[in-house]
């Protein structure tokens, strides 16, 4: 008997004007948004590939060990089309002896200047418009569509007089409810499926997009959770339809509830949490960082250094690596002794800074936890969290990758620490005697410079390009990747359970009401 109701509901819905209009709107918007986001993904992927190449090339051209910096590029996940995730996350994690990757990775921030080599149009001012993803479209437009389908399920039938007729049949009231629910769910599945197919079609038509098993599984999971999310709204709509005296006021009430659930709670709850923002912790961090800086410099200046000869072409830094080109052999060993004392200080400074930042990160995570719990009661927030986790764009995945990057840094440091005791840490002058500023060399250089200017000296002799790059084949390479789908989904089990639970709650309440219902 339920089957009959389901079929009737389905047919009535499919033939209604509101379904047709809603379907058109959904198809248009999902198509448009899907197209734009896919293009965006393709662009980001190209940037990623060129970044990887560029970083590998830089590494290949490293001439001295102390300037090694490994940039771990994070590929953009294809599913970010569904869940954009948090913005301002850096697309590459920097690992170096002088920098421990933390949550405060430079970030992409947004900077406008004339020195960038990116070949994609860039306009950070467009953040003025809310960036949207498909989960936004589903969360806002499809949920409204769901409401539109069911708000007059009971009240409308009562007004038309057919409810009494239906309940007079030998069928349980609960079965009527379930029939309406399933009918509506099947109806909603149609625009949802069409939307997803549009996106998949766009991906298939785009040559740069490749789908692997995990992407397919991800899409399937997002589809499943979208259905669950929409059934939550369907259940809510049915519930309110039972309470409403007339359909039109029922619609307005449910829209009010929708505004609260979809808009006010997610935005307002986050706003409320601002009150708990750890401003104190932030100021402490600035002070502590200053403390560490002072401590480092004090220790640095305690180490004495007597330079034995003038350096020709040197790049040094208090807190980073150094590369010296034109120095004598004697000076090399002089500097080596100094570096043996100084570089461990620099490494320690990097770790100290990290520890300070991490304590701030802990406070921030705690704040984020409060904020997340404040906004959890909303179906839309739960849905968004789940989609982000499945897409791999949530902060949890990013932090997991940061942890992997830090472990890699430790491996890198065990490789590099012994190298501090070698000249190749900061110079290759021993291998290129004609670059050492001995008396005869300098005489020759000055003669050359007189004739053709200093420029020729640096172009022909004191030139880093002449030096063969280091052989880094035995250097450990990073193995950082996004945690796999299973792990990510397990991370949002609570949210998934809550989503199902809330839907069940609405259905349960509707069941209770329908049993005592007087048409």
């Amino acid at each position: 008997m339920v089957r009959y109701i389901v079929r009737k509901e389905l047919l009535v819905n499919l033939l209604s004007m509101r379904f047709a209009l809603g379907l058109v709107v959904v198809a248009l918007v999902m198509g448009l948004v899907g197209y734009v986001l896919t293009e965006d993904y393709v662009g980001r992927r190209q940037t990623y590939l060129s970044d990887v190449q560029r970083h590998q090339e830089t590494l290949r051209q490293t001439k001295v060990y102390s300037t090694i910096e490994v940039a771990i590029d994070i590929p953009p996940p294809l599913l970010s089309v569904f869940g954009r995730g948090v913005k301002d996350l850096s697309s590459s994690i920097r690992v170096s002896p002088y920098h421990v990757p933390s949550l405060f990775e430079g970030g992409s921030g947004s900077s406008i200047h004339l020195r960038s080599t990116s070949d994609r149009p860039y306009n950070p001012l467009l953040r003025f418009f809310t960036p949207i993803d498909l989960s936004f479209v589903i969360g806002i437009i499809l949920s409204l569509f769901a409401i539109l389908l069911v708000f007059d399920s009971f009240s409308g039938e009562r007004e038309r007089g057919t409810l009494g007729l239906m309940l007079s049949c030998p069928i349980g009231r609960v079965q009527v409810l379930i029939g309406k629910f399933l009918g509506a769910l099947l109806t909603m599945a149609i625009p949802l499926t069409i939307g997803f197919l549009e996106v998949i079609l766009l991906w298939a038509l785009s040559p740069e997009v490749t789908l692997d098993t995990s992407s397919w599984v991800g899409v399937g999971l997002i589809y499943l959770f979208s259905l669950i999310f929409l059934s939550g709204f369907l259940a809510l709509g049915l519930l309110i339809s039972l309470f409403a005296k007339e359909s039109s006021s029922g619609l307005m009430y449910i829209l009010l509830v929708w505004i609260v659930v979809a808009v006010v709670i997610p935005e307002g709850g986050g706003y409320l949490a601002e009150y708990a923002w750890p401003w104190e912790a932030r100021r402490n961090v600035v002070e502590k960082l200053k403390e560490k800086e002072d401590k480092f410099y004090k220790a640095l200046w305690k180490v004495e250094y007597h330079q034995k000869c003038a350096w020709w072409y040197a790049n040094t830094s208090d807190t980073g690596g150094e590369s010296l080109l034109g120095i004598t052999e004697e000076e090399v060993y002089n500097r080596l002794e100094y570096n043996k004392k100084v570089f461990p200080l620099k490494f320690q400074y990097a770790e100290d800074r990290y520890r300070v930042l991490e304590s701030y990160a802990v406070a921030l995570r705690r704040w984020a936890g409060i904020r997340d719990n404040l906004i959890r009661p909303s179906l839309c927030v739960l849905y968004r969290n789940i989609v982000q986790a499945i897409s791999g764009t949530d902060i949890g995945s990013y932090e997991a990758m940061l942890r992997q990057a830090r472990r890699y840094r430790e491996a890198l440091m065990s490789y590099l620490r012994p190298k501090v005791e070698t000249p190749e840490w900061f110079t290759r002058a021993l291998e290129y005697p004609d670059m050492q500023p001995t008396e005869e060399n300098v005489k020759y250089w000055m003669k050359l410079a007189e004739k053709e200017g200093m420029g020729i000296l640096f172009a022909r002799i004191l030139n880093w390009d002449r030096i063969t790059p280091l052989d880094l084949s035995d250097m450990p390479r990073p193995q950082v990747k996004c945690p796999d789908l299973a792990e990510r989904v397990v991370g949002v089990t609570t949210d998934a359970l809550l989503l199902v639970g809330i839907t069940g709650l609405f259905l349960g309440l509707a069941t209770m009401k329908v049993l005592r219902y007087t048409p």
Binding site: V25, L114, S116, D119, P124, L125, F129, V263, G270, Y275
Partner: protein
């Protein structure tokens, strides 16, 4: 007669649960936005740099000789005192500038941790009015006509010596007055709360801006009252009016405004960073150095190059602003967007504020430059050549001086007159939409057949 109808509907509206619910929500959200703003603003002011980093040391003095090589001086945009009304530009746009005294070098926004740990919430007054109160407008009017039609009371009312126009006007006022009252009460209450927190001192100019925001909100709510009335007139039953309003409201408040960014990105035409870099690198070709030039001439040519690069950077930012404007123009068809832009501009935010900030930075830089040239002239040991990126020689003075008022960076917000100028188009649009909607509603209602439709 008009006022009889108004009074009847007004009482019905004010005593309804839904109006009360909306009113309570509005007040809660506006007060929350004010409270959160007070905390953020206080902290932003505390963290605002007191001196220009890189150019002025802790004692307020400047080492003239190192200025030509200083390429990393930074200043920040002054936080907006009215961000609780509309905070989009404040939150999203660049708020810092890096420069050398001979030319601007970068405009940036520091990455916001808040944004990283989840969506940065935005519940300012513009949001409350454009989403919640616009919906309330529909709530009050969707069955103004169609409800009476169904109940049969419309015919009764029109059998009185009252014109249809009057009835429409009465319904309009009966919905707008409670909304205006709710808006005013909520705004007043929030401002009292703001005063109580003492976080910000509002100037007379600020109050003027708040007044205009109130006016714009009224115009905006009037539009949605008219949309609700139109749906009510257009549909023959309250059910259909409600559905019609729902569609319209969703499209206007959610779909259209959000599509702006997407379309602008696809359609805008700006150069890539790489192209800009190449343009910057080709600047020396326009200002070549010829052998045999004196030191002074070399310094002058290099200065021209830096200024040309600054010009390029500013044009680059302007092209980005144009792309944003394109997106805004595409979405202006929605009163929601027109309203948001109007409020953003009245409050003195948005792209206008950004360009103003850049102007202030350039003006400061030029003033600072003149001041150091003056100070340098007084030093007899200097050769008085300012050569960009060259320092430590006798070209320029090596003294350490206090440059007086020239070392203070001032970034005042634009005045209310200026803001109104910028917001003029959107305010006019709001008035236009009002006029259009009233016209079509009136024309439709005047010709409507009011015999009650059976069984609907």
């Amino acid at each position: 007669m008009l006022w009889k109808i108004v009074r009847k509907d007004l009482v019905e509206h004010i005593t309804s649960f839904r109006f009360l619910a909306v009113f309570v929500f509005t007040v809660m959200l506006m007060v929350t936005s004010v409270l959160v703003f007070s905390v953020r603003y206080r902290n932003a002011i505390e963290e605002y740099p007191r001196r220009v980093e890189g150019l002025v040391n802790k004692d307020g003095k400047t080492h003239l000789g190192s200025v030509p090589c200083e390429g990393g001086a930074t200043v920040r945009r002054f936080p907006s005192a009215l961000a609780f009304i509309s905070g989009t530009g404040e939150r999203e746009f660049p708020n810092g500038a890096t420069f050398a005294v001979h030319g601007l070098r970068a405009i940036w926004r520091a990455p916001d941790i808040r944004g990283m740990l989840g969506s940065s919430a935005q519940v300012d007054w513009a949001f409350v009015v454009s989403v919640l109160l616009s919906f309330a407008a529909g709530l009050l009017t969707y069955k103004a006509i169609s409800g009476e039609l169904r109940d049969g009371t419309l015919a009764l009312m029109l059998s009185n010596p009252v014109s249809r126009g009057t009835v429409l006007l009465a319904k309009y006022l009966a919905a707008l007055i409670p909304l205006a009252a709710a808006l005013s009460a909520a705004m007043a209450f929030s401002l009292i709360v703001l005063r109580a927190t003492g976080a910000v001192q509002l100037t007379g100019d600020d109050w003027l801006k708040i007044g205009f925001v109130w006016l714009a909100s009224l115009l905006y709510l009037s539009i949605f009252v008219l949309i609700g009335l139109f749906c009510s007139v257009f549909a023959r039953s309250p059910l259909l009016s409600a559905v019609a309003f729902m569609f319209t409201w969703t499209c206007l408040v959610f779909v259209v405004p959000n599509l702006g960014g997407i379309l602008a990105r696809q359609m805008g035409d700006i150069k890539t960073p790489l192209q800009m870099k190449k343009l910057s690198e080709s600047v020396p070709d326009r200002f070549p150095l010829t052998p045999g030039m004196s030191d002074a001439e070399v310094a002058s040519v290099k200065l021209k190059r830096e200024l040309a690069r600054e010009r390029l950077l500013i044009e680059y930012v302007q092209s980005m602003v144009r792309q944003v404007h394109l997106g805004q123009n595409l979405t202006r068809i929605s009163p929601s967007s027109a309203f948001s832009y109007a409020v953003e501009n009245i409050v003195g935010g948005g792209t206008y504020r950004l360009m103003r900030f850049i102007d202030n930075v350039v003006r400061f830089r030029e003033g600072f430059f003149r001041a150091i040239i003056e100070a340098d002239k007084k030093d007899p040991q200097s050769e008085h050549h300012y050569e960009p990126w060259s320092c430590g020689s006798s070209n320029f003075s090596q003294r350490v001086v206090d440059l007086g008022p020239a070392k203070e960076f001032r970034d005042p917000p634009p005045s209310s007159i200026e803001c109104l100028h910028v917001a003029f188009m959107d305010m006019s649009l709001l008035i236009l939409y009002n006029g259009l909607l009233f016209l079509i509603t009136f024309l439709r209602f005047v010709r409507q057949d009011i015999s009650p439709v059976p069984g609907v």
